[in-house]
Amino acid sequence: MSDNEKIVEISMHCRGGQTCITASQLLAEMAFEEGFKDIIAIPIIGAERRGAPIQAFTKVSKSRKIKTYDSVVNPDYIFMFDISLLYIPRIKNSIKEGVTLIVNSPDPIDTSDLPNNIKIFLVDATGICIKRDFMHSSGAILNIPMLGAFGKVTGYYNLKTMEKVIKKEFGEKRLEKNMSVAKDAYESVREM
């Protein structure tokens, strides 16, 4: 099934404070802004705290109504905000053949335990945030660069759409800084 007909399912892994809950919502908004027919952002809510593994999902479709609320178990794309999560057995085992990983890492990752038939894209989101001073009280605000990388990899939305949605959600105040990290990631994401 082509991307046009199916429901594309995205799973995001981060640690509390690394902002993947917001990322799942922003991704949905950007896709919708680009004319996707239906979207849903699903955060897994429990007892969140800084540093604990957090998961969020987004489902997007160009042509179909999305009727499900369940977790994504066979994602088309996985966002890995924190490389240390990749080696938690539960998360590692969820990586199946055919999936595309967007990984926050400056360097190639150890793939010895992962299936062969997967695509991996690397973006140094943390490095970009530090360089641009795009930080909050406990670390880098990773969602914008991760979404910049995803936009480039999939072509689902471009920087202009990102700017529109970020402006709508967060206003003018930090728009320039948001866009600088988005652009850095958009331009530097590379396939491993």
Binding site: A28, F32, I39, I40, A41, Y69, D70, S71, V73
Partner: protein, 418 residues
């Protein structure tokens, strides 16, 4: 018109919001005049969003009252409604239980209050996830109660509910409920309707007119809720609450039709919504968020050639007995799926009990198989729902009951304990 009032008028657009935010926008669109608030997960963001609206001057004339508990929250809307205003609040789980006394009071006084409920499992153990036992436990208070399965439906249903509740022939309060976190905290596109159009469908209340039976006016003092002797009208008032509930069925249907005419969105006949029930052998009755996902399961299995269908139960009170009897005549076997409990009852599930009672003494209707799933937010996947349908198909074809039936009910999705 002032500048602030101009802002209040919205343009018709689809925005991506959480279910809770959809509830808040609905209260704003309905031009509610009094909101009382106390936070409780997973409802909190409903009243948070409303406080933002009021603080930003987007709801001119609306009073926002912070209370110290849910009991007081309901007392406040009861008081405000007695004064003839359109009132709104939201709560969940333990909050409903704490407010139970005032919940009876609102229905007894026949006040058209609308409250959104982000349902969660009753404690203990402490639980904040989807489970409709909280709102269904208010079954006998006289409140109407409906379930939403989608974000847009939350917005739409709140508008429809005010129209039904405030009708002078009805005058009852109503819960508009949806699964905690599953709808309250996920985001989907929602169309916020043009204020002019909403005003046409649900006109703002004329101020100081009050309800026909109860109002507050220092020039015409009256007593509320005083003691009346058993020989007086208490008994008759109770009958009237039941009678209003029963008559509300026709009103709900009428309002759903009118809503569709103006806004173009269909919610079945308002009480139930059938999906693929014609020429089905096996069907399910289901409510809340799982009803939307079940539509996908039915669609998928239809694609594989199985003759399955479903009925989405929109209203639990008033209970659409007549419609369910008709739907049950279309199939041989009917699974009734509860995400709630009625401990010690015939089936353990509140809706399956009611469906069994409704079909009793009606010849030629389906056999009922009660199913319980998803308690306390336990995830129910699309695959699991397809499997439920296949179990029903198998039972219908072979007469073989699913394994693991407990006291005559299929408790689906239990953990396997060694």
């Amino acid at each position: 018109m002032t500048e602030v009032q101009n802002d209040f008028i919205q343009k018709r657009e689809s925005i991506i919001i959480k279910g809770n935010v959809a509830a808040a926008y609905a209260a704003k669109s309905a031009r509610v005049q009094v909101i009382s608030a106390y936070p409780i997960t997973p409802q909190t963001t409903v009243v948070e969003k409303l406080s933002e609206f009021v603080d930003n001057g987007l709801m001119p004339g609306t009073q926002y009252i912070k209370m110290e508990s849910e009991h007081s929250v309901f007392a406040a809307v009861v008081g405000a409604s007695k004064a003839g205003t359109r009132t709104f609040t939201a709560t969940s789980g333990q909050g409903i239980f704490y407010a139970h006394e005032m919940i009876h009071w609102a229905a007894g006084a026949r006040l058209p209050i609308v409250v959104s409920i982000a349902s969660r499992g009753p404690a203990p153990p402490w639980n904040i996830w989807a489970d409709f036992t909280d709102v269904i436990s208010q079954r006998d208070t006289g409140w109407m109660n409906c379930f939403c399965s989608e974000h847009q439906e939350i917005y739409d249903e709140i508008l429809m509910s005010y129209k039904v509740c405030e009708d002078h022939d009805i005058l009852l309060p109503k819960f508009v409920s949806y699964g905690g976190f599953i709808l309250s905290h996920t985001s989907k596109p929602v169309i916020l309707e043009d204020q002019d159009l909403v005003d046409k469908f649900l006109p703002p209340l004329p101020s100081e007119e009050g309800w026909p039976h109860i109002w507050m006016d220092p020039k015409r003092p009256m007593m509320f809720g005083n003691l009346i002797m058993p020989s007086s009208f208490y008994y008759e008032f109770r009958l009237k609450i039941h009678d209003a509930n029963m008559r509300a069925k026709e009103k709900i249907k009428k309002v759903a039709k009118e809503f569709e005419k103006i806004f173009g969105r269909n919610y079945g006949n308002g009480l139930i919504q059938e999906y693929e029930m014609d020429n089905a052998n096996v069907g399910v009755i289901i409510y809340g968020d799982l009803a939307l996902q079940m539509e996908q399961a039915v669609e998928d299995l239809r694609g594989e050639g199985y003759k399955v269908g479903m009925v989405k139960l929109r209203h639990f009170r008033p209970f659409p007995t007549e419609n369910l009897i008709e739907a049950a005549k279309k199939v041989k076997l009917l699974g009734v799926i509860d995400r709630a409990t009625a401990f010690g009852s015939q089936t353990g599930g509140p809706v399956s009990c009611e469906v069994k009672a409704a079909l009793h003494e009606t010849k030629g209707t389906a056999t009922v198989l009660p199913i319980i799933n998803g308690l306390g937010g336990r995830e129910v996947t699309l695959e699991q729902q397809k499997d439920q349908l296949l179990k029903l198909v198998k039972y219908n074809e072979t007469g073989e009951l699913p394994k693991d039936m407990i006291h005559g009910t299929l408790w689906d999705g239990l953990l396997e304990i060694e």
